[in-house]
């Protein structure tokens, strides 16, 4: 039982590290941008600029935050 719990914990830790990493705000905002893009695309509104823009802005925010923290 302990081994199963340990495997599940390891898998969850891996998935979290793979998707979220060390800055959860980047993952959350980019995911939100993907959802908004999906909704806009479903309504035939062109939005291919949104995700690249959000990705670049969030990278800037994250770099600035980690620089100030160090």
């Amino acid at each position: 039982m302990k081994t199963v719990a340990s495997i599940v914990t390891s898998v969850l830790r891996f998935v979290y590290g793979f998707i979220v990493g060390d800055d959860w705000t980047v993952a959350a905002v980019v995911l939100l941008a993907l959802v908004v893009t999906g909704v806009l695309a479903a309504n035939r509104i062109s939005s291919l600029w949104l995700v690249p823009l959000v990705a670049i802005v969030m990278t800037a925010v994250s770099l600035r935050r980690s620089r100030r923290a160090s």
Binding site: L34, A55, L63
Partner: protein, 241 residues
């Protein structure tokens, strides 16, 4: 050119585009995190792909490729952004130091056993691109009534692009790890953005060529961020103000 030649050339060229994307991911991940887990992931992707093709055959056209593109694209985008960010910070801090000196391995790459990050990245890249090649084969082959030639064209593309990738393995390994992490992060972020949005129903005006536009966009942004990071390191008082 005969009808058969057109089918062969068309499937070869269309499959080459997908095979290049597949090989770039495997090559980048392998050079950055080690080859063993990356190649095991790629082999596992090929085995699953072969099983899917064997079971579904020409019914492959029914695979919900849009949903798969969104899932794989979103995961690559989120992971790629982590390497993109870390690569920018490291290149800003270290520059191209380490060009001739072996660098320390990544701290999160296990010394022994499987590196699941490398495994998953190459597995997903091979499976998604392989499925796209299979779809090209089925759609072109059935439309032209030349399934055998269509398979031959795609197989030739995978073998030739794969061989070029294998030949580039050693030169790519010589790139400093910090720069390599930035390059692979930029590639994964670009491919991830492209696939995720395509899966969500966004139409890219120039199709796969827009991956290059994304690479240029993210590359220019990275160069700008590196400049800003360096300036902040050399003038910390200006940053604090």
């Amino acid at each position: 050119m005969t009808g058969a030649g057109v089918v062969l050339l068309t499937t070869f060229l269309a499959s080459s585009v997908e095979a290049i994307e597949m090989v770039i991911i495997v090559l980048g991940v392998g050079a950055a995190r080690g080859w063993r887990s990356t190649l095991v992931g790629a082999a596992a992707g090929l085995v699953v792909l072969a099983a899917v093709v064997a079971v579904l055959g020409v019914a492959l056209a029914a695979v919900p490729i849009g949903a798969l593109r969104t899932l794989v694209g979103a995961l690559l985008l989120l992971f790629g952004l982590q390497w993109y960010r870390k690569g920018i910070a490291r290149v800003a801090a270290r520059g191209l130091a380490g060009m001739s000196v072996p660098e320390e391995p990544e701290s999160d790459v296990p010394a022994t056993g499987m590196d699941w990050t490398a495994f998953v990245l190459s597995f997903k890249g091979v499976l998604l691109e392989g499925l796209e090649i299979a779809l090209i084969v089925v759609s072109f082959g059935l439309a032209a009534g030349q399934l055998g030639l269509s398979v031959a064209g795609a197989a030739a593309a995978v073998v030739i692009i794969g061989a070029i990738g294998f030949a580039l393995k050693t030169p790519v390994t010589r790139i400093p790890r910090s720069l390599l992490q930035l390059i692979v992060g930029t590639l994964l972020t670009s491919f991830g953005t492209f696939w995720a949005l395509e899966g969500l129903g966004v139409t890219w005006p120039q199709s796969d060529v827009d991956i290059l536009a994304l690479l240029v966009l993210y590359g220019l942004a990275a160069a700008t961020f590196i400049g800003l990071e360096r300036r902040a390191m050399h003038h910390p008082s200006a940053e604090a103000a």
